[in-house]
Each structure stands twice: as C-alpha cells, then as structure tokens.
C-alpha cells in the first residue's frame, strides 16, 4: 500500500466501496484514522472539531468529504450529524472504514451520501486531495 494515494497517469484513482446512503458529492478530503464521537467532539454551529486530543482538532468538516474509521460513544451522535446539515456545515459525503449505526442513521435523515467497506486503504488519501463520491465509488484526483 503506498504512503499516500496520488492520481494515476490519467490523474485519478478509483476505490470501490459499499453504498449505505446513496448520493453523490465532490470536495476536499478530510482524513483521520481516529474514531469520532459526534456528540462530544464537534461544534455543531461551525462544524469544527473541538476536542483538543483529536487529530483533526481545529479543522472544520463543513463541505468536506469526511473520511474516518467509524463513530464511537453517545447514541445521540446521529442527531449531531443531522444538526450539522441543518446548520449548513455538514460534510458533503462520508466515507467510513465500517459505517456504524450512529453514522448510518444520521446520514439517512440528513441525506448525506455514506459509503464504507473500501477495497483500498482510505487512510492513505491525503487531507486536501480532491475527491468525488458517486454511490459506491470514490475517485481521487
């Protein structure tokens, strides 16, 4: 597995995934290997990660393609995902290693495209890379 996934000679790389909430989205990748507790770690008005111990501390999930392993902790985290959407600071799409019930149900009512079970190492994608999600496929430019 390469350290970072860059585009191929045609300038893009495709990773096949599993569709959980269908839809399409395009934007900058925001990548972390750390799990997220949506209720405790994110400021819902700004979309900024407010947990100082988290690797994404200070960064905003707004309009990003958020890439992380899975959510942890409170069962109310699903509402937090919905609140991000209502406050216009939600990610454009979410890619998990394995989508959990909190993330899946939050995305279902917020209509945020959600995919998981990637067939390559998603954590090798660089934060800031341009990424496009379409149903069960992710393209990295």
């Amino acid at each position: 597995m390469p350290e970072t996934i860059e585009g191929d000679s045609e300038g893009r790389m495709r990773i096949k995934c599993r569709k959980i909430v269908s839809g399409a989205g395009e934007g900058e990748a925001l990548v972390t290997k750390q799990a997220i507790n949506f209720l405790a770690m994110i400021d819902l008005k700004s979309g900024i990660i407010k947990d100082e111990k988290h690797a994404l501390y200070g960064k905003s999930v707004a309009d990003k393609i958020l890439i992380f392993p899975n959510a942890v902790g409170s069962s109310v985290g699903a509402y937090s995902i919905y609140a991000l959407k209502i406050n216009n600071v939600a990610p454009k799409a979410i890619l998990c290693k394995k989508a959990d019930i909190t993330t899946a149900s939050g995305c279902a009512i917020a209509n945020i495209p959600l995919i998981d079970h990637p067939d390559a190492d998603i954590f090798a994608i660089r934060s800031g890379a341009k990424v496009k999600i379409n149903d069960d496929l992710i393209e990295i430019y």
Binding site: V72, S74, S75, I101, T102, S105
Partner: protein
C-alpha cells in the same frame, strides 16, 4: 437488505412521512450491519431527549415526526435536561425550558412511557431472556445485552426511534446468536475495588475492543458495578456487550499502568466545587446504599443526586430519600449528569463524581474540571 412488499410501500411514503423516514433509517442501518431482513422487537428505548443533546434541529425534527408518527411498541425514553417538578428552583434559561418541553410533548404525543430514565432495565419489568429489543442509550444497550440477557444492537437515538415507530429492527450483529461471542479478552492484572475502578476498566475496554469484550478476572458483578462498567464501555467505543470469565480470543492486559492512564485522561482536577452522583441514574439499591453511608453526616458541598423517578418514589416509601435530604443531598429525577444544563462553568470550575461517563461529558461538554473519587471516598472526604 430485503424488505417485504408492505415495508417497501412504507419506505415509498404510502403510509405517511413518519414511517417513510423510519424505514429510510432502518434501511441504512440494515445495510451497514449486513442485515438480510427486519425482525419484530417488543420494546424500544429511545435517547435524544435532553435539549442539550439534540438542540433546535432535533426539536424541529421530532415536532414534525410527531404530527402523524405513533409508536408501534412499548417505548421508553431517556432523561431530559431537568426535573420538571423542581424546574422553577433550578435557575435555567426560559428558552431551555420551553424547548425541552416541546421535545417531551413530541415524544408523549407519539406514545412514550414515563419516567424519563437511562436505567430502563432497572425501572421497567424485563421481558423473557433472548427477547429482541432496540435500546439506544449506550449504558442501557450494554447492560441489556450483558446482564439482562436481552438482544439489542448498540442503537443510535434515531435507529431506536425508527424501531419504536415500526416495531422492527434489522436482524444483525448482537441480535444474532453467533455474533454474541467475545472477540477480545481483557486480562485484569490489577485489583478492581469499587465502582470507579469498574468505570476505568470499562472505558479502557471500550477503546480497545469492538463488538463483544470478555473480562478475565471478574466472576461476579454487583448491580452498581455492572452499571458503572456498562456506562463506561458505552462511552469510549462501539462495543455493545461484555461477558465475564476467561475466553479464548485475543488478550489485552489491564494493569496498574493502564488504569492510571485512563484516570489521568479523565481526572482533570484535584478538587471540586460540586458533587454529582449519577450517570447512569441511581436506582433504589443505590439510594439505599447511599442513605446508609451518609446517615448522620452532612455534605460539605452541594451534591446533585440523579435518580429515576420510580426509584425515588420507592426509596421515599422506604425512608431512604429522607436520610439523603437530611444530609443535604439534592435529589433530582427525570434528568442526569450527562450533558446536564445544571452544571454551568460560569459558576462551577470543577466537579467531583464517581461516574466515568459523567466525567467524560463534564470534561468535553460542560468544560469543567473533574475530580474522580469512588463513593466511599466522597462520603469520607466531602462530608462532615
């Protein structure tokens, strides 16, 4: 996941918008947990009641849903932000009270039962062993699977709500017999003495394990320790069940060093201005124990004690609450420590508690320091 023709129709909106939303949620969680179909459940326990947890967008969502949505099975709900019978004395913002009341009305319109509790397994009669239920509230899900013998996934507020409206849940993960086996074993190498130690152990376990975790070194578990362990497991990770006793699977050691590391993460103050007990709420047995421990003593600081209303009423008949109140304890029902609006950093710098789940949210949400002490030490050091 395969839906029946009737379920497909409901998903398409033929039975109203509330059921369409519910099936959209069930479909997403069914796909994510590899379910092949939905199965009936008999009891849903829904979280997302406290206004501090779901906010204005949650209020709007629930008000919309409750216009036509009605619960199809027995549905119990989590604590709200305050004790409604004592709210006037609690000095909360009017807006908080109004928004909280809207949430409670929406749930009641859909058919939820009282009281508002995070320990439904202690307050309500339990169905027979192996019954499928749908419990959000992480401590309740872990306790239901591990101690009460019920079968639930670690539901989200919305997935449990969807189950409440439909009476169904995906047949996946911890609802399946073959999935209820530990895939990680914690070997305990340090003495686990009290409820705080169990909480520290649970927080560690939640971080290192997923699915089902076994504890090698525990044989029996008192109810209050099981509650502390369940709540802490549910706070730090995605694990939804534990077993006790050694099992043959990957082993991780929990010794003094691991315990101190968890303690250092959550213990952010060496003293506190206020004491909170609860998260999970105290049941009758907890109130009985507390009343004996503090008999003839007085709390030196304000002490908020969160309990289930049913437990409070039974404990009053048995004379326990009177003793606690004589010692200066403030008993509050229908609410809890977790994301409480009653601890305000404008007034309080740090809080003493024996709850690991409480400590996590007091640190991260209320932004106050936390001083961790087991109940025995709280009574010894903070009472006169």
């Amino acid at each position: 996941m395969q839906l029946t023709k009737e379920e497909e129709k409901a998903l398409a909106g033929e039975k109203g918008e509330a059921l369409a939303i519910a099936y959209r949620i069930l479909l997403a969680i069914g796909e994510s947990t590899d379910a092949e179909n939905l199965v009936p459940i008999t009891w849903a326990h829904v979280s997302g009641v406290n206004y501090n947890t779901i906010g204005d967008s949650g209020v709007k969502f629930l008000e919309g849903l409750s216009r036509e949505g009605r619960f199809a099975v027995k549905t119990t709900i989590n604590p709200m932000g305050f004790d409604p019978l004592k709210v006037r004395a609690l000095k909360l913002k009017e807006e908080f009270i109004q928004q909280q009341n809207k949430i409670v009305s929406a749930y009641e319109r859909m058919g939820s039962m009282k009281p508002y509790t995070c320990i439904p397994y202690e307050v309500f009669d339990l169905p027979p062993k192996d019954t499928s239920v749908s419990f959000a509230e992480s401590n309740a899900a872990v306790y239901a699977n591990s101690i009460a013998g019920l079968r639930t996934n670690k539901e989200s507020a919305l997935s449990a709500l969807a189950s409440a409206l439909t009476g169904k849940a995906p047949y996946s993960e911890l609802r399946m017999e073959e999935m209820r086996k530990p895939n990680k074993c914690i070997k305990i190498k340090h003495v686990i003495e009290n409820e705080l130690d169990y909480g520290l152990l649970g927080y560690f376990a939640g971080k290192v394990a997923s699915d089902v975790v076994a504890f090698d070194g525990i044989n029996t578990l008192e109810k209050r320790n099981a509650k502390a362990l369940s709540a802490a497991i549910g706070t730090s990770g995605s694990c939804g069940m534990f077993t006790v006793g050694r099992t043959d699977c990957e082993t991780v050691e929990f010794g003094k060093e691991e315990m101190m590391k968890v303690r250092d993460e959550l213990n952010t103050s060496d003293k506190g201005d206020l004491i909170t007990l609860g998260s999970p709420q105290l049941g009758v047995d907890d109130l009985s124990l507390l009343s004996k421990m503090i008999e003839g003593k007085k709390f030196r600081k304000r002490c908020l004690i969160f309990c289930a209303r049913a437990a409070y009423e039974s404990a009053t008949r048995l004379g326990y609450t009177q003793k606690i109140e004589q010692a200066g304890g403030e008993l509050l029902c229908d609410c809890c420590t977790c994301l409480t609006p009653l601890v305000d950093r404008e007034e309080v710098d740090s809080v003493i508690t024996n709850s690991i789940k409480g400590a996590y949210y007091l640190n991260s949400h209320n932004k106050v320091g936390v001083c961790l002490k087991p109940l025995k030490e709280i009574v010894k050091e903070e009472c006169e």
